[in-house]
């Protein structure tokens, strides 16, 4: 154990260098800074917006519009007599949208004709703030149409219910899930599923990228610095040498991925706490959140798939000649990781033919990506198959590494990807 500890410390010292710490600190700070900027922008978006109004009509329908606008915006009357003057004044007062109600607006409607209002977008940055404000304005215009339409219907249909006339069909949405009928919108459930599916690949991707790079670099360095042969003739088991490299990579990548996720969370959810808690509420109401048993199984699934990636990278990096080749050698593992990632957005795995499904199931990283969906939908056979497959694959890969580590291939086989470029 003393020898293994010495090797582990040596590996950690090799991996932790100034460049690694600097890049780590920079990325964390970058996430935090972007997150803070996003948060302050979100707060601005949540503030009551200002809107300019040019009222050139004094009829009753114009008043309806003004009342509706005032209930949502801080309405400012924009001075001037021409569109250029209105825009100039609005621009100087930092007002991003201006609604102009032309003369004769109410009279046109009363005469049974369609009347126009003009909407001006005052652009300064073409940023998200202006885009969102325009979206809000469009929905307000739809509401204005609906309220004027309601008033007209009340006047012209002698007491008929305008709601009935405009929307005679009412819908109530239900979702059948895990043998239960839930009164819920399928949109909300899909939103929760997608939210769950986004984070899992990010965590796994980060962990695997860090770990694979570290182990490939460690192996490449041993060969580049010509230290591997010396190490292999010491009275330490080959398994200890390789596991010290793997464990040190796992330790560091867990620390790094945790810190990255913390920074990333700050960035992703800056100012969106409301939306997140809404999704959490959906999960609670509809029994979609993973129970303790599910969380444990999920943890096992993530760990096993990470280990698979690590073992695969180790096998490839056994044959590389230097650190540059080592970095490129992790590409096959990354491709295997990206396939299920993209498939999870585009393909409904349960609808695939048995052959296609088997092929996708053979990719080890498929299982953590689909874990939540399988578990939430009660496909426990698929969940347990995934875990059993990963266990078996890890055993086989470990045996292969130990075998390879005790053969001549370690010193005689060569992959030099630099030459191929």
């Amino acid at each position: 154990m003393r020898k293994f500890t010495a090797l582990l410390i040596k590996e950690l010292r090799e991996l932790i260098n100034k460049q690694l710490i600097a890049s780590f600190v920079i990325i964390i700070l970058m996430f935090q800074i972007i997150g803070k900027i996003g948060e302050s922008e979100s707060k601005k978006l949540e503030e009551r917006k200002e809107i300019g109004l040019v009222m050139l009509d004094d009829g009753k329908y114009s008043k309806t519009i003004e009342t509706t606008l005032r209930s949502i915006f801080n309405v400012y009357r924009v001075e001037g007599s021409t569109p250029e003057e209105w825009m100039k004044n609005a621009y100087e007062s930092d007002i991003r949208n201006v609604v102009v109600i032309p003369q004769g607006f109410s009279r046109e409607i009363e005469a049974g004709k369609r009347a126009k209002i003009e909407v001006y977008a005052v652009t300064k940055s073409l940023g998200i703030r202006e885009r969102i404000q325009k979206t809000i304005l469009t929905s307000i215009i739809n509401s204005l149409n609906a309220s004027i339409s309601r008033e007209l219907l009340l006047e012209k249909t002698k007491g008929e219910d305008p709601e009935f006339l405009t929307k005679p069909v009412l819908t109530e949405e239900y979702v059948y899930l895990k043998g239960k009928i839930l009164k819920a919108s399928s949109d909300a459930i899909f939103a929760y599923m997608i939210q769950q599916s986004i984070f899992i690949p990010i965590i796994l991707f980060l962990l695997l990228v860090f770990t694979s790079q570290m182990i490939a670099t460690a192996m490449g360095q041993e060969k580049e610095n010509k230290t591997l042969e010396t190490l292999l003739t010491t009275p330490v088991s080959r398994a200890s040498i390789i596991f010290a490299k793997m464990i040190s990579a796992v330790i560091l990548s867990c620390i790094f991925a945790g810190a990255y996720m913390y920074g990333f969370k700050g960035y992703m959810f800056a100012g969106t706490g409301g939306a997140l808690s809404e999704l959490t509420k959906i999960a609670k109401n509809y029994d979609l959140a993973l129970p303790v048993q599910g969380i444990i199984l999920f943890g096992i699934c993530i760990f096993l798939s990470l280990l698979t990636g690590l073992l695969m990278t180790t096998i490839i990096s056994l044959f590389v000649e230097d650190t540059r080749s080592a970095h490129l050698a992790i590409t096959p593992v990354m491709i295997l990781l990206l396939i299920p990632y993209f498939l999870s957005f585009t393909v409904d795995i349960m609808e695939l033919s048995p052959v296609a499904k088997t092929v996708i199931y053979l990719i080890p990283f498929t299982h953590p990506f689909y874990f939540y969906r399988f578990y939430a939908l009660g496909y426990m056979k698929d969940v347990f198959f995934g875990i059993a497959y990963l266990v078996l694959l890890n055993i086989l890969l470990t045996l292969l590494i130990i075998k390879l580590f005790s053969t001549d291939l370690l010193l005689t086989a060569r992959i030099n990807l630099r030459k191929g470029r």
Binding site: L7, K10, T227, T233
Partner: protein
């Protein structure tokens, strides 16, 4: 019992036969030199004896242990210094020695003893506390040789120990090897520098295209072929 016995050693790399039935032995306290040009099979032979490569045929025994069946036992008694070997560049010389000592020693006291011995062999002064990345080639070689000898192996296998070094550094390295053998330890070294081997070795074997073409004591070989040095012996032997 000889410290090292090599009998009918064969090695194939795919279809290429690198060793074609090599045989020699080395006794306790002896410096045995394996001499030959580049690509003759010296490094392959040393790698097999160091348990790094597996033989395709024949037998290699170190202190009576078979290299294939009892590799882990052999690793306790040998040390191998590869040609162009390096040390971990981000470690200080002293830390590198401590790390390697931990891999051989059973307790802290033994680690300290080994490190002190290595410092004495390397003779790097205060530079032992500098990072390996700041060392010259000669300093690195001395550090590595100190590492190879610090645990007092029964058999030290040194591949081209002075390759690429200047005259002074090469001289110091040769001195260290001589002193080590005087303590009763066996050294197997390879070189294509015949003069160096003549100065260092008690016995030599000439290796050419995977075969041993001649072996014996330098003086006897020179006498046998009626020449002045080992270089001329080699030329005559491969004719």
């Amino acid at each position: 019992m000889p410290v090292l016995e090599v009998n009918s050693l064969i090695k194939f790399y795919g279809k290429v036969q690198a060793l074609k039935g090599i045989y020699f032995s080395a006794e306790e306290g002896e410096i045995f030199g394996l001499i030959g040009p580049n690509g003759a099979g010296k490094t392959t032979t040393l790698r097999i004896i160091s348990t790094l490569l597996t033989p395709s045929g024949g037998e290699v025994k170190v202190l009576g242990f078979d290299v294939q069946k009892e590799a882990s036992k052999i690793r306790k008694f040998i040390s191998y210094l590869p040609e162009e070997a390096g040390a971990y560049r981000n470690l200080r010389g002293i830390d590198y020695l401590k790390l390697m000592a931990h891999l051989y020693a059973d307790d802290k006291k033994e680690v300290e003893k080994m490190v002190l011995k290595a410092i004495e062999i390397a003779k790097l002064g205060d530079r032992i506390y500098s990072k390996v990345s700041t060392y010259s080639k000669g300093m690195t070689r001395k550090l590595l040789l100190a590492r190879a000898l610090m645990h007092e192996p029964k058999l030290a296998i040194l591949d081209e120990p002075t390759s690429g070094l200047d005259v002074l550094n090469a001289h110091e390295i040769r001195k260290i090897i001589k002193e080590f053998a005087r303590e009763g330890k066996t050294v197997l070294l390879s070189s294509h520098n015949m003069l160096e081997v003549e100065y260092l070795c008690d016995r030599v074997a000439f290796i050419h295209e995977g075969n041993i073409v001649e072996q014996g004591k330098p003086e006897e070989l020179k006498k046998k072929y009626g020449v002045k040095n080992l270089e001329e012996v080699f030329v005559e032997a491969v004719k």
